[in-house]
């Protein structure tokens, strides 16, 4: 089983779309492929390298697999520069999922920072598609500047819904921006939720997630109801190589989505 999961299949790029100055969304034809919100694939730029990339499309929708990738290293830069029809190696899906179905009946706070909106988007699709199953649903999204907002047009569509609350904040802006300015944790105070019956899904840079989890605890949400998506240097993705070891945890196997009560003691350890 592990050997099979270690061998990439060849998929082909169907389309690519620029999201921001350094981030692209690629749709990849991969045949029949089932995944859950929060899972990731390993994408291989042939001859250059392989990287973990969260799935950012709707898990229920038929059609190509969707990944949103920021060009920050050789492999990610090569993948974002693939053209329509180019081959890309694909392994997956790997990792744990956001507890979307398990949150039925609860209020759901989705807190995204920067590119962290991409791994949360599959969960957002399912929450919005089955909106009646949940209490209050809020998306709180923080990013660097207005130019760095991901999925801008889609967010505009989401904001027209009356049954979800969507708040966006940026770290800084020029005066043309009319929205919030400040860190994403400040939006938590503005969200409507019952802390005793709320599940929080948090994804973003690790420091942002630590601050967000702390603010959620202050707001009264129990640690076992807070989920974070962890990022580490994943290589094999099948719990063999140990590159993604985080204390007693292998992120590729035990994550990327993990409960805060398990992560909390690890997050502030200097040597992990």
């Amino acid at each position: 089983m592990a050997e099979l999961a270690a061998v990439p299949t060849v998929a082909r790029v169907r389309s690519r779309r620029r999201e921001t100055h350094d981030t692209w969304t690629l749709s990849i034809d991969a045949g029949e492929f089932a995944f859950q919100p929060g899972q990731f694939n390993m994408l291989y730029a042939f001859g250059i390298g392989e990287i973990p990339v969260s799935l950012s499309g709707d898990p229920v929708a038929a059609g190509p697999l969707v990944h949103t990738i920021r060009a920050v290293g050789d492999a990610s830069r090569a993948i974002t520069q693939l053209k329509v029809g180019d081959p890309v190696g694909l392994r997956g899906p790997f990792g744990t999922a956001w507890p979307v179905a398990d949150s039925t009946g609860s209020d759901v706070l989705v807190i995204a920072g920067g590119l962290g909106l991409a791994p949360l988007r599959p969960a957002i699709y399912r929450l919005f598609a089955e909106r009646e199953r949940y209490g209050q649903v809020a998306l709180l999204y923080g990013t660097r500047s207005p130019a760095d907002i991901l999925f801008r047009h889609e967010i505009e569509r989401w904001r027209r819904r009356l049954d979800v609350s969507i708040e966006i904040t940026v770290d800084h802006a020029d005066l043309a921006w009319h929205g919030h300015v400040g860190v994403v944790t400040r939006l938590i105070d503005r969200a409507i939720f019952d802390p005793d019956h709320t599940v929080a899904l948090v994804c973003g840079p690790e420091i942002m997630m630590r601050f967000a989890a702390s603010a959620l605890r202050t707001a009264g949400i129990a640690p076992e109801c807070i989920y974070l998506s962890m990022e580490r240097n994943m290589k094999c993705a099948i719990a063999q190589c140990g590159h993604c070891q985080f204390g007693p945890v292998l992120i590729c196997r035990d994550g990327a989505v993990m409960r805060y009560d398990r992560l909390q003691p690890l997050l502030t350890a200097r040597e992990l």
Partner: protein, 155 residues
Amino acid sequence: METRGLDRLICEHAFFAGMSPDHCELIGGCARNIRFDKGAYLFREGDPANEFFLIRHGRVGLELIAPGRGPVRFLTLNPGEIAGVSWLVPPYRWLYDAQSLELTRAVAIDGGCLRQKAENDHDFGYEMMKRFMTMLVQRLHAAQLQILDVYGTHG
């Protein structure tokens, strides 16, 4: 009657939640109702910081002129929050601009008046300082996150 109304507004404001009626009355004695049209400035960098504002309705943007970039907005404030902390410490001058981003209704509180009352009544002063210190620490933590630029490539 007007002052009593302001006392109530002050006591009901989120920043002063739980404040005793006596202390709200002390603050009310230094307060006035005020409104700012969209685009108006509550205060400008370099001006004397003689008062601060309890935002009741509307939204306020805090801005700095950055060389080569023009005005940069680094924080927006919503109802229930406070605009202005420079009245607390010498030299009592604003270090940034505060602009009303939409029609904003606020209670303006005279900083010199309040400092004098805090000097005369240390219990009141300590109660005020606890609230401002909490807000300042929260803003300091938020500023640390912003300085770290966590959404940049090193986030």
